[in-house]
Symmetry: C2
Subunit: 335 residues, 2 copies
Amino acid sequence: MTNVLVIGTGGVGAIVAYGIDYTGKSNLSVVVRRDYEKVLQKGWQITSCDYGEIKNWKPANIFPSIEAARKIEYDFVVITTKNLPDITPLHELITPVITPAKTSIILMQNGFDLGTPFIEKYPENVVISGVSMIGSHNNNGTITHIQPDKTTIGFFDNPNLSKEFQESKTKEFISIYNNDKNSSVYNSNTKETRYRKLVYNASLNSVAALTGIDTGRLLLSGGMESISIPIMREIKQVAKADGVILPDDIINTMVHSDDGDWYQPSMLIDVKKGNPIELEVIVGNLSRVAHKLNVPTPTLDLVYLLLKVVQFKLKESNGIITIPKEFPISDKYYE
Amino acid sequence: MTNVLVIGTGGVGAIVAYGIDYTGKSNLSVVVRRDYEKVLQKGWQITSCDYGEIKNWKPANIFPSIEAARKIEYDFVVITTKNLPDITPLHELITPVITPAKTSIILMQNGFDLGTPFIEKYPENVVISGVSMIGSHNNNGTITHIQPDKTTIGFFDNPNLSKEFQESKTKEFISIYNNDKNSSVYNSNTKETRYRKLVYNASLNSVAALTGIDTGRLLLSGGMESISIPIMREIKQVAKADGVILPDDIINTMVHSDDGDWYQPSMLIDVKKGNPIELEVIVGNLSRVAHKLNVPTPTLDLVYLLLKVVQFKLKESNGIITIPKEFPISDKYYE
């Protein structure tokens, strides 16, 4: 039977894992860190818009760490954690569960240009992209799934492997994930899928996080037009230089996408909770690709630099970095 | 006797008022709003690094409003309030206490290009600038004054009046304010004094407020070099186009000015307390002058736009603006 490992069982990860188990075509393992004891004893309690009420659900194998999960040789490793490469370099950490030339890695995470470090580290493996539209929260092992799981799946092109092989592995993953309740569709243009999501995330999510305001108020305050839309225009130019033509009306679509809601996007919620933000994969990678392609992105770049300062603060308050007790005075001359 | 009115009796205003009273050359009135009843009964309690312990100090006249203060015709009206023209347009509000061609107006406040709206509104009056280095706080009518009062005083050039007349009025004000405890010096180059202070306030104070970090951490996080110093360079160019050559080492001086402290500048403290920030006079006026002089200030401009969104949020939370309960959906097309 196909061996699947899911790493990261927050709101999204638990529903992804349940979906794979529900489909029933694989031997499912999960890595659960914080809730390990609770899940081992009682499983998960799930209230799902797709699957209904599920009590005490447990997958076949539950491991407390990636290291502990290495006893099985996996066909697919699905990563659904928050994406914080500046804090947790997952491409390094998953080595124990990756079999070269065998294990396909599915990145079901936010962000842009995610495949690169994985393809560099595992040049013989297929790296798959999952862009999920799901809404689901984990509150101490109780999962509340409110927005249906619709996932667009494709592969990050690995130049060492044939497209046919990568496509077949991707479709094999879809076959063990897709079921009558969820919807996962194959899309051959992973780059475009990621760029589309980025038009929202790098412009609205980022500016909301920086200014501390929901997207509805961002529109009312004028910030949508003065800051977020200029960033969207920059992203369109980056995409174009990167071979992706985004739809003409994409800016209008994104501006109106939260119509009716005072919607708080993910990075704003993280800042409010004092959690680190997915800055590098949402804004940083895009800014770096823009520079590589010589596309000027001055608005995006400055928002990135400002959010790096915010991230520094969030890392300090989470004990990820420490600063000296005494202010370290230097005689460096600034001009 | 010279009639003086002080408007704004926060930490700074109370010490300025006490200094004028201590000098003893004028009939002093003050407008006290929030603490009116308390001050009328018991006066102020002051602990001052310049003046020592003062119990129950009361000036000659205490008024609860500008309107109530109009019964006297003033020679000098000293404004020491927080400077929020987007919320409180003081040049409009002080009309009852300004006698045309008689009353000189002293703006002892933060910010840049402050004189313009006052000179436009009161073309026959002298408008004086006070840039204060004082540190003083008002906690419910108890004043704690910790950093000595050193003030640089000059005039905002009013083209309708002779320089000699403006200078004589300015020096007359210094003579009724200066005493053996404080230090107020005349400086003929008001513009340069304001630009110097702005190099700090528009670059460090602004970015600290936007990112929620003190100036020491801003340096450690890299934001000083990536954001604040580029803004300082922009300000130097604006000053140059405006006829003011700032010292070569001004950037180094400003970067090192908080050495040894994890210092929280005023706008950061305001954001943390949930109070509106002095955005328009610190950042907005500078951005507008830069545009008028055709000096590109892209970093400053974007920080300004971002802080305008923050100010929107602060105004809403202070009840200064209200937003509709229901999200107002429009069919405006954005491109």
